[in-house]
């Protein structure tokens, strides 16, 4: 599903460079032994900037929740309405979640709690790749209330 191309900045350049290599890296604080995402200049817990590093994580997650967007103001998403927006919990990174359009899953047919695996999508404007997630197995579910 075509999305806006993210423009990397000094905070997340490593995240997007890894995405172009189809790797997922998440910021990690050695002092607190915790992950944080989106990237920040310092640890949101202890405030340390010099203890942050990037850790590659496995691309496994679980669907925490979702919604269906019928009317978005983001112009490049409008041709695909209605579409899913799901919140994915990363299995390896407690407390870290990412958004996904769940490619392959029809709008509103999102199985909350189902496992998902990492893929990467190319965004059209710049070619920047971004992490995406696909439901493991059939890709459809019964939830839709």
């Amino acid at each position: 599903m075509p999305k806006q191309s993210p423009i990397p900045d000094e905070l997340d350049r490593a995240f997007y460079a890894a995405a172009n290599e189809e790797r997922l890296v998440i910021q990690h604080c050695a002092g607190c032994d915790r992950y944080q995402h989106p990237p920040k200049a310092s640890c949101a817990e202890c405030g340390a900037a010099d203890r942050l590093s990037w850790r590659e994580v496995e691309g496994k997650g679980t669907i925490y929740s979702y919604t269906v967007v019928y009317d978005t103001p983001v112009v490049c998403l409008q041709p695909d309405q209605p579409f899913n927006v799901a919140l994915i919990d990363l299995d390896d990174c407690p407390g870290i979640s990412m958004l996904s359009h769940l490619p392959g899953t029809p709008a509103g047919r999102v199985p909350i709690g189902a496992p998902v695996r990492l893929i990467f999508e190319v965004t059209p404007a710049t070619g920047q790749k971004v992490p995406e997630w696909r439901v493991v197995g059939s890709g459809t579910g019964t939830s839709g209330s």
């Binding site: 989106p38 925490y64 929740s65 919604t67 103001p73 919140l87 709690g113 209330s145």
Partner: protein, 260 residues
């Protein structure tokens, strides 16, 4: 409008208003953890409130412009507070007045507006934005404003920063204003949302969904899943919220005939 009624400090004002731009205004917000009880508890009061009418979109008349209705709301708040206008020495406001549908590029300012109001330094002052300078020029009764605060983003920040400023003695009687309107066209379809690229924090949120309400919708969906509910069960809450909303006389639907 917030006012300090107890323990008012003698504060030496400059002749020109001291202006707190958004970054400085943000320093007045209590965003850190562990600050404990607010030190000015019991010393600051909200003493008046004022509204303008509401309208779906501006009809182009100067008397219903964002500037005119801001002046009306401020005067209503001053009346409600029961203070003389020259007692007001502080003004906190949010400068942008529309985040959804901006003033059309190159569209002229209506002649009637220019005839009715003193101009600010920006040609769209009072039409598509609001500056303290424009307000003070067009509210001659506010002769004593020495403290001006430009709050970031929204009414809650303007009000919270104004309350803190009164608490600190930067101002004694402060107006907090948020003016909001829209012009023709679909909401939020221009600017960053229309670009093929995205920068800043929107990369991790808005760019994936658009409307800010998606987060609330996901929380609701999770609630339904966790507790085995259906969205139909939300109906009593929705109906009651709508009923409560119509009790607010300044609300749009209260003024414009709700569909029943």
């Amino acid at each position: 409008m917030a006012s300090r009624r107890l323990g008012y400090r003698d504060f030496r004002f400059m002749t020109a208003p001291a202006v707190y731009e958004p970054a400085a205004a943000a320093s007045l917000l209590r965003t850190a953890e562990g600050l404990g009880l607010w030190p000015y508890r019991g010393q600051v009061a909200a003493v008046g409130i004022g509204h303008s009418p509401t309208m779906r979109r501006w009809d182009g008349r100067p008397e219903t412009s964002i500037g005119a209705w801001s002046i009306m709301a401020i005067r209503n708040a001053i009346d409600d507070a029961g203070v003389p206008p020259d007692q007001v020495d502080g003004l906190a406001l949010v400068a942008p007045t529309s985040s959804a549908s901006p003033w059309p590029a190159d569209a002229p300012v209506p002649d009637g507006f220019l005839a009715m109001f003193a101009a600010g330094s920006h040609p769209l002052d009072g039409v598509a934005r609001l500056s303290p300078e424009w307000l003070l020029k067009n509210m001659p009764e506010l002769t004593n404003v020495k403290f001006v605060l430009i709050a970031p983003q929204c009414m809650s920040m303007a009000l919270a920063a104004a309350i803190e400023a009164v608490g600190r003695g930067l101002t004694g009687t402060c107006i907090a204003l948020k003016a909001w309107h829209n012009f023709s066209g679909r909401y939020r379809q221009s600017g960053a949302n229309a670009r093929p690229t995205v920068s800043g924090t929107a990369k991790y949120g808005t760019a994936w969904a658009g409307p800010g309400c998606y987060r609330t919708a996901m929380q609701f969906q999770r609630y339904l899943h966790k507790y085995g509910k259906t969205k139909d069960m939300m109906a009593p809450f929705v109906v009651n919220s709508r009923r409560n909303g119509l009790l607010f006389p300044e609300g749009y639907w209260a003024q414009h005939g709700p569909r029943r």
